[in-house]
């Protein structure tokens, strides 16, 4: 996947025709749209809630909402930012309803290092999967505002202007948050890596 692109790939039809077919109730078109976007939506949901099952539930609710609101999206070029905005707002509403905050502020790196891995023995797990898990844990300790910018800009590939529009902040603020977020994430990742290396030695 090209990390900078902000358009959907792997679609069987051009997006505008696919969206029109979805609006008409075509199950195949809807399935194709879900398949092409669910990875992004799942990643966005996981940046707000740590529990994978909770994130999966959120993804389903987001798609129900998306289907109801499809008549509003006539511009295929703006579909992805619009979908991400809808998903982000749903995640924030979910957190508000739950009366909880994202775990970023609650779990310092030192504690996160000590958390038990939910998956199999790291020695047997695939290196990519282990790295991915570490990255999620490092993201969880990045400040909330910086993490949102990182997720939208680096993970979802939106431009600075689009991120600013989506979050309602100026482009300069997007850039400074991105710088801070990258630094926080790299520091957290370095400490997590040092912690896991330490555990590996003992």
């Amino acid at each position: 996947m090209n990390p900078r692109h902000d358009t959907l790939s792997g679609l069987p039809l051009p997006l505008d025709r696919l969206l029109a077919a979805c609006r008409d109730g075509d199950e195949l078109a809807w399935e194709a749209l879900v398949r092409a976007t669910q990875g992004r939506i799942l990643a966005l949901a996981r940046s707000y809630v740590r529990d994978p099952d909770e994130a999966r539930d959120l993804v389903q609710e987001i798609y129900v909402k998306l289907y109801r609101r499809l008549p509003l999206c006539r511009d295929a070029d703006r579909f992805l930012p619009w979908l991400l905005k809808l998903a982000r707002r749903h995640c924030l509403d979910h957190l508000r309803r739950r009366g909880a905050r994202p775990p970023a502020r609650d779990i310092p790196v030192e504690e996160a290092v000590g958390l038990a891995d939910p998956g199999p023995d790291p020695g047997q797990a695939h290196a990519d999967e282990e790295r991915r898990r570490l990255l999620w844990r490092a993201l969880a300790v990045v400040g909330e505002a910086e993490r949102e910018v990182l997720v939208l800009q680096e993970m979802q590939g939106l431009s600075v202007a689009r991120v600013g529009e989506l979050l309602g902040i100026p482009a300069g603020t997007v850039k400074s948050r991105a710088h801070r977020g990258r630094l926080q994430l790299a520091r957290a990742l370095r400490r997590l890596l040092a912690g896991s290396a330490g555990r590996g030695r003992t």
Binding site: V34, Q38, G39, M155
Partner: protein, 222 residues
């Protein structure tokens, strides 16, 4: 080399402190650095393994973060989403192309979700109430008179007697209604007392308004 490096650290420890924090700040925006900063950063990285490690992590972040949005297929996720949304699709199949009603429903759902909706509703309600409250404007005194009355109401108690008499003489029966319960004397009598000067007579106490009488006694020291 190592000795020189240790010496540098020792000097920094008693002067500016370690330079790593500054280097880390520069690393976060490495692609947009002025030439001088880039040269200084490169010189630091040559000698600092910690910052080199951080630089390597930062360089790998864009690719790794993008890969997070393209996760391995989640077993059953697509099926679960389709199960949840299938009733909506079937309903759409029956009703055909979404019409104005569906558009309006989606539009309202999106508007109702806005975080500022509560403030917007409160503002509209306040404007409506204000408009309704001001519509029967003829029943209220004109704004200029209201201001004059307000200025007198908040005036010091020492001048209250003469001010009330003055205002009553000018506003006549209208002010009489406003001051209902405070002073029920006919406007003419108030005007007469005004003409008599600042010394409002003790007959105030006979009107039954003991509060006014008390304040006047206080004013005149009786």
């Amino acid at each position: 080399m190592t000795e020189r490096h240790d010496l540098t650290r020792a000097v920094l420890a008693v002067t500016s402190g370690p330079a790593c924090r500054r280097a880390e700040e520069l690393l976060a925006r490495r692609n947009h650095l002025p030439a001088d900063d880039a040269a200084l950063l490169a010189a630091h990285l040559d000698r600092c393994p910690d910052c080199r490690e951080l630089a390597a992590i930062l360089a790998s972040l864009p690719g790794e973060l993008a890969a997070l949005a393209d996760p391995p297929p989640e077993p059953g996720l697509t099926a679960a989403v389709l199960r949840r949304t299938l009733p909506l699709l079937r309903r759409r199949r029956c009703t055909g192309r979404p019409g104005v009603r569906a558009w309006l429903a989606a539009w309202w759902e999106e508007r109702a979700e806005r975080p500022t909706l509560a403030a917007e509703v409160a503002l509209v309600a306040a404007l409506l109430l204000a408009a309704l409250g001001w519509l029967p404007g003829e029943k209220l005194p004109p704004r200029g008179r209201m201001t004059a009355v307000a200025a007198r109401v908040i005036a010091p108690p020492a001048r209250l007697g003469s001010l009330v008499a003055d205002a009553a003489a000018r506003l006549g029966g209208e002010l009489d209604r406003l001051l209902d319960g405070v002073d029920r004397r006919p406007a003419a009598r108030v005007a007469a007392s005004r003409r008599a000067g600042a010394a409002v007579s003790d007959t105030n106490t006979c009107t039954g308004n003991t509060e006014t009488g008390r304040s006047l006694r206080h004013r005149t020291g009786r």
